[in-house]
């Protein structure tokens, strides 16, 4: 198992240099980006997106649409005690980030976002003009 932080602290020897190395590594890791897994479904009304963002609170979440792109950014806000020494870390990183290109028939003005238990649900509807319509075929 990848466990470099433990290797660093054991090789560091004395407590002081190991603490500094751990802090520097923590700062580096705090800005490391994680890619959240998503489920994307499209139906007649628009697109529904679910993203796994565990550890992100409403304050740490940012969803924005810019020039036809949808950006999802979330900061992990899990507080741990100061003296915590990491033994095993399968997730290393402080924030989630993912972006998607929105095609023109999706309406960015009417995006609905909902965050519950670390799952972000976005509903991006189609613009009125782009909704599928049935065309009546007149029999002659």
């Amino acid at each position: 198992m990848l466990n470099t932080r433990q290797l660093q602290t054991t090789q560091g020897g004395a407590a002081a240099p190991a603490g500094q190395a751990a802090r520097r590594e923590a700062e580096g890791e705090a800005s490391a980006r994680l890619v959240p897994p998503v489920d994307i479904i499209e139906d007649a009304a628009g697109i529904t997106l679910h993203a796994d963002l565990p550890g992100v609170t409403r304050e740490g979440l940012e969803v924005r649409v810019e020039s036809g792109h949808l950006f999802i950014e979330g900061r992990i806000g899990v507080d741990v005690p100061e003296s915590l020494k990491v033994i095993h870390a399968e997730v290393r990183g402080g924030r989630y980030q993912r972006s998607f290109a929105l095609s023109s028939e999706l309406d960015p003005e009417r995006v609905e976002a909902n965050l519950k238990d670390g799952v972000l649900t976005l509903k991006v509807p189609r613009t009125e003009a782009a909704r599928p319509r049935r065309i009546e075929v007149k029999a002659e």
Partner: protein, 193 residues
């Protein structure tokens, strides 16, 4: 087969990796070249060790890279119950002098349905995450990256973890389990009279 310069036997030359018609020495073999070829003009020896066709020792680099990767994974002794990466839920384990903290990243689960047990120093987290409701009507699924189904993670706890003093909470999709260490096994300083 081109004759290896520096007086190496043909049989030894067969051990040399051929790359695009040019001889690339394996890391272990490089020393042989050095010592065996005192009579060869320097230029020719340099051409073999530091080739002009491939500016770096390509296969030596690949070998070294492979060793580094194996080293990284072998680095610390892995638990017999440790799983590979990419398992749901991802788990981070930390320790303080007071106890052990386990954080499992499991969003979208009802905490009442998570099964958390400790038995003989082994913590088991299990449960199920339902897949999203199937879309009604005609719908296209573009991505299904999120995990759904039954999950089970098993973690070895250190020997001094006290199973009677466990607390767990679920917030924002993170399951936190804190297990205190036994009082008697905390570090005590001993007075010398």
């Amino acid at each position: 087969m081109a004759c290896a310069p520096g007086g190496l036997e043909i049989a030894e030359a067969a051990n040399i990796f051929f790359a695009g018609g040019h001889q690339v020495p394996l890391p272990g073999m490089a020393r042989r070249y050095f010592f065996a070829s005192t009579s060869v003009p320097k230029m020719e020896m340099n051409m073999n060790l530091y080739s002009t066709r491939y500016p770096t020792d390509l296969f030596g680099e690949l070998d070294r890279l492979q060793q580094q990767i194996e080293q990284a994974f072998r680095g610390s002794a892995t638990d017999i119950r440790a799983t590979g990466r990419g398992v749901f839920p991802a788990i981070n384990v930390g320790a303080t002098d007071e106890g052990v903290e386990i954080i499992a990243l499991a969003p979208g689960i009802d905490p009442k349905k998570i099964d958390l047990t400790i038995e003989k120093g082994v913590l088991t987290i299990s449960g199920e995450r339902a897949a999203g409701a199937p879309p009604e009507g005609r719908a296209t699924v573009y991505a299904r990256e999120r995990f759904s189904g039954v999950f089970r993670r098993v973690i070895n706890l250190p020997e001094d973890a006290d199973p009677d003093r466990v607390s767990a909470s679920y917030r924002d999709g993170c399951l936190r389990v804190s297990i205190a260490r036994r009082e008697s096994s905390k570090p005590h300083s001993i007075q010398i009279h």
